[in-house]
């Protein structure tokens, strides 16, 4: 066994103390009819060979592509100090800080995370982390249902489809209903339709969920949506992208009761889907409905400032079947990553990253339009948008052969929509270079001409 310290003499000493001859005796409580005798698996691999195997697998992934793909997960410049700090074993190999006297490092960084996310979202109660953007959105819907005692949530069709799907899965087993709010041709959520859905007095709505920016990159009229939700007695949930909050109005400013979102852009690697960071923030009024851990500031027996997990009566290990959620393990190290990233970027750096991404996106829009791929929607956007390219999936595949990852073919998410299935969802961030934009536009023009010919 590669990491075990026991020598044969150690094992013999322990067995002798127990009065046993063989370790097999320790497994005699497993009934013979269900006792296994080993595993049909390959043998152990020395570290050198394992390293080769892993290197070869990693090399089979294409990470050399010039990428314009976002769709909920974004490439950003991550200052070098972030991984240096997060790699420290004192953070990475600690457990949940149940013993606060020897966990102040983890506890203070979570408090700092809560503080900085409270500032970005404009909401006071930030959970120590949830799993990802999708599950944070589902939990936000559940908070609305618990807090209002109503049984229906409305989710914009322009919320990330996987967040919608996850919310459906979470609510499928319950008596609660999720209904979509349709979108308008300009890419924004149809607020007239929202008004009609809210007006069904026989079935009062617990919560209204919109994303800012939404899945098409479009900026929604969040203040108006929030006003409509509140007028009907519903809570309002904003699904946010955290880097954008350096320049966009914070959810608290437009009256959102809850913000949920994917924290990956705050310094986390793309990593083919995780581990990521579920952001969940709420107003003080909803404190006791917020699932997961919260860290608070207090003092020790000598009056020194210290930090501790608090309001734990919401949690599963105390409350069992009456807990706010079953969440136990969270994404603490990912929250630490976000904390270190925000400290390294500072307010100016974060704003510069968000604004430069917006500037590059406008260059990208002009270049693609000149190459024959205009925007599909005309509502304002920040750094992501959809363009119309007839035969988009085929064009996307042809561009891939030229080393360009031309965003997301929207046909994969909206196969039945006659407009969107000819769409490519593309984004730019501060790491998108002007020469990459030129190369994309030139290749697109070339590929489109080939397909036409």
């Amino acid at each position: 066994m590669p990491y075990g310290p026991h020598t044969p003499a150690d094992r013999a000493r322990m067995l002798a103390a127990l009065g046993m001859r063989s370790v097999d005796e320790l497994f005699d409580d497993i009934p013979a009819s269900v006792r296994a005798h080993g595993l049909d698996l390959p043998g152990p691999e020395p570290e050198q060979e394992l390293a080769s195997r892993l290197r070869e697998l990693a090399a089979r992934n294409r990470v050399d592509l010039v990428s314009f793909l976002g769709a909920g997960v974004y490439r950003h410049y991550v200052p070098a100090l972030v991984d240096q700090v997060v790699s420290r074993g004192e953070f990475a190999t600690a457990y949940t800080p149940y013993q606060p006297e020897i966990s102040q490092g983890t506890l203070q960084t979570i408090y700092e995370y809560q503080s900085m996310l409270a500032e970005l979202t404009g909401l006071d109660v930030v959970s120590a982390s949830h799993y990802d953007g999708a599950t944070a959105t589902a939990e936000a819907a559940l908070i609305c249902l618990r807090a209002t005692g109503r049984d229906r949530v409305l989710v914009s069709a322009a919320v990330h489809p996987q967040y919608q799907a996850t919310t459906h899965t979470y609510l499928d087993g319950t008596r609660f209903a999720v209904e979509p709010i349709p979108t308008r041709p300009d890419g924004s959520t149809d607020l007239d339709a929202l008004s009609r859905l809210l007006a069904d007095g026989g079935r009062p709505v617990a919560g209204v969920v919109l994303a800012q920016p939404n899945v098409f990159g479009v900026l929604e009229s969040m203040a108006e949506a929030s006003r409509l939700a509140h007028a009907a007695g519903a809570l309002f949930v904003a699904v946010v992208e955290p880097v954008s909050l350096a320049v966009l109005a914070p959810p608290g400013a437009y009256g959102a009761d809850i913000a949920a979102g994917e924290g990956q852009p705050l310094g986390l690697p793309l990593g083919y889907g995780g581990p990521y960071l579920g952001i969940l923030a709420a107003t003080t009024a909803l404190t006791r409905q917020v699932p997961g851990r919260l860290v608070g500031r207090t003092t020790d027996a000598d009056g020194r400032r210290a930090f501790v997990m608090t309001l734990r009566a919401r949690e599963q290990d105390i409350r069992r079947e009456r807990a706010a959620s079953n969440i136990c393990t969270n994404q603490a190290l990912c929250a630490l990553t976000a904390t270190v990233y925000l400290a390294a970027m500072g307010p100016h750096g974060l704003r510069d990253a968000a604004a430069l991404g917006a500037a590059r996106a406008r260059e990208l829009e002009r270049a693609l339009a000149a190459a024959g791929a205009p925007r599909i929607h005309d509502a304002p956007y920040l750094n992501e948008f959809a363009v119309r390219v007839p035969g988009a999936p085929r064009i996307h595949a042809a561009l891939l052969e030229r080393g360009i990852l031309a965003g997301l073919p929207l046909a994969s998410w909206f196969p039945d929509d006659p407009v969107l299935r000819d769409g490519l969802l593309v984004c730019a961030t501060e790491v998108t270079r002007p020469d990459e934009i030129e190369a994309f536009a030139a290749a697109l023009a070339g590929v489109t001409a080939e397909v036409a010919a």
Partner: protein, 503 residues
């Protein structure tokens, strides 16, 4: 004289906002053009920039490094936290997860661009099938609790597919993790709790009485949270299946039985793994974990989508939307916490089948050895062969000295060890759940046992030292009541002159 503080060793730290000074910071990215946000309506924009801390790089790094010194961790010492399997986290796994080929891959790239990761995930699924004796595995769940929810939602889909819609109850033993009943509630079920018998197993008579046509499933942790193998498992599974219910195994304690017990082969319908326990992925101060769920024949059609499939030509792909209509759908975004799964894969490959069995043997041997060492000093409520962990109790010590398990735990800190899990499982008075794992040297186990024996003696000779412990930690016991009564969950927003200017 000003306050002295040590130049090395742990020191409490100011918060980032206390360190912040306007104008500090490092230029990390190029400045945007002045009109970068010109296309965006003013009402969509932030009125003021966020008041985030402004710190320079040396300050930032020292802040976090000094904070790290306030943490206990597997990298710094023995962490015998029962039910948590705080084993060594091998360093090559950290290296592997950071390989750019894995780390820089976007989750929505076409399958052709992700063949390395897809192959790894597919192979990992095959390994977990063999280890669990199950038919298939979903790697999506982000943690054990989410694995439980995934499993119970599949149970619901299974009953529903048979037109069996009256089942409304999930049965859990009274020794179960809190996540089990909380999961049942999230999935819309009522929890029925059955007692444990005198030997620490499920009370079979009570279980049989609780089972019926209303039962959707039994959730059973095996080995149990008492560290005991459920030796009536065959009878339990028969009874559950006899009423048409399914059996879910909470695999939190699987570190005890790799290669000696395969739940699928024994008749369980589903189980989850905690990769952050059994397969040594780091706990990260609370997460991230990963909770793959393995299922048998009955639940196969209902696995979350997408699964990773291997094509006839040996290439790999993700299931397409709608390809398997019976699926319960997604339980999260993308395919799972892949960075965690890369580490778990490396761990499995490093050990191989024989090594995994040795892991369990050594974990069980170490736990039994410690149980033996503490017998006579602390109560051992279920004093029979345990698996990877065991419950000790300070009940007698408490009666004799007034010293409680909490005090013993805090005093262990002064002896250089992390305390065990305390006051769990709930059914044992003054419980200490002790799990040494297989990666701690015999000298460490002896030192820990010696410390607990010493503390028991101190409880008689110097109870105050124990009651007021810890004395050597960076802080003493905390005022948790005030923390809960007057929650202070973030620093105050900075105001006025300290507000950062736009550029």
């Amino acid at each position: 004289m000003t306050d002295l503080r040590p130049a090395v060793g742990p020191v409490l730290q100011p918060t980032l906002d206390e360190l912040s000074r306007p104008g500090r910071g490092v230029t990390r990215v190029p400045h945007p053009p002045a009109d970068a946000l010109a296309g965006i309506p003013a009402e969509q924009l932030r009125a003021r920039p966020p008041a985030l801390p402004e710190v320079d790089e040396p300050e930032a790094v020292r802040h976090f490094v000094n904070l790290s010194h306030l943490n206990f961790a597997v990298d710094t010492g023995f962490y015998p936290l029962g039910s948590c399997t705080m084993k060594w986290n091998p360093k090559i796994n950290e290296w592997a997860a950071r390989l750019p080929g894995f780390a820089d891959l976007h989750p929505l790239v076409p399958d052709a661009a992700a063949q390395g990761t897809l192959q790894l995930l597919w192979e990992l699924e095959q390994w977990l099938c063999e280890i669990s004796g199950m038919r298939a595995v979903t790697l999506q769940p982000a943690a054990g609790a989410q694995g439980e929810l995934t499993g119970i939602l599949m149970v619901r889909a299974y009953h529903r597919s048979r037109g069996d819609v009256e089942r409304s109850e999930i049965i859990v033993p009274d020794s179960s993790h809190g996540t089990n009943p909380a999961t049942a509630s999230m999935a819309g079920y009522r929890t029925v709790t059955v007692p444990s018998d005198a030997r620490g197993g499920v009370d079979l008579v009570a279980l049989r009485a609780a089972l019926g046509l209303r039962t959707a499933a039994l959730m059973l942790t095996n080995p149990s949270t008492l560290g005991l193998f459920e030796d009536q498992v065959v009878e339990i599974l028969e009874a559950v299946h006899a009423v048409g219910a399914l059996a879910y195994m909470d695999g939190a304690n699987f570190n005890a039985v790799m290669g000696t017990f395969r739940p699928g082969a024994a008749g369980f319908d589903a189980m989850h793994f905690n990769t952050h326990k059994t397969f040594a992925t780091p706990h990260g101060g609370g997460g991230p974990g990963s909770g793959p769920v393995a299922v048998g024949e009955r639940l196969l059609p209902f696995l979350p989508a997408p699964r990773v499939l291997r094509e006839a030509d040996g290439s790999f792909r993700l299931e397409r939307p709608g390809e398997r209509p019976a699926s319960i759908g997604r339980v999260r975004s993308y395919v799972g916490s892949v960075g965690v799964l890369v580490r778990a894969y490396a761990y499995l490959r490093a050990h191989g089948g024989s090594g995994l069995r040795e892991v369990s043997e050594d974990a069980v041997l170490a736990a039994n050895y410690l149980r033996h060492r503490l017998r006579g000093t602390y109560d051992i409520p279920y004093d029979r062969v345990c698996k990877h962990e065991f419950v000790a109790s300070s009940a007698t010590l408490h009666r004799e000295t007034g010293i409680r398990t909490l005090d013993v735990a805090k005093r262990l800190i002064d002896h250089g060890h992390h305390p065990p899990t305390i006051y769990f499982p709930l059914i044992v008075e003054e419980a200490m759940l002790i799990e040494p794992t297989e990666t701690e040297a015999l000298e460490t186990l002896d030192d820990f046992a010696d410390a607990l024996v010493t503390i028991a003696a101190e409880a008689h000779t110097d109870p105050d030292a124990v009651h007021t412990a810890p004395h050597t930690a960076p802080v003493r016991r905390l005022d948790e009541a005030t923390a809960a009564r007057q929650p202070d969950l973030h620093w105050r927003p900075m105001t006025g002159a300290e507000m950062p200017c736009p550029d």
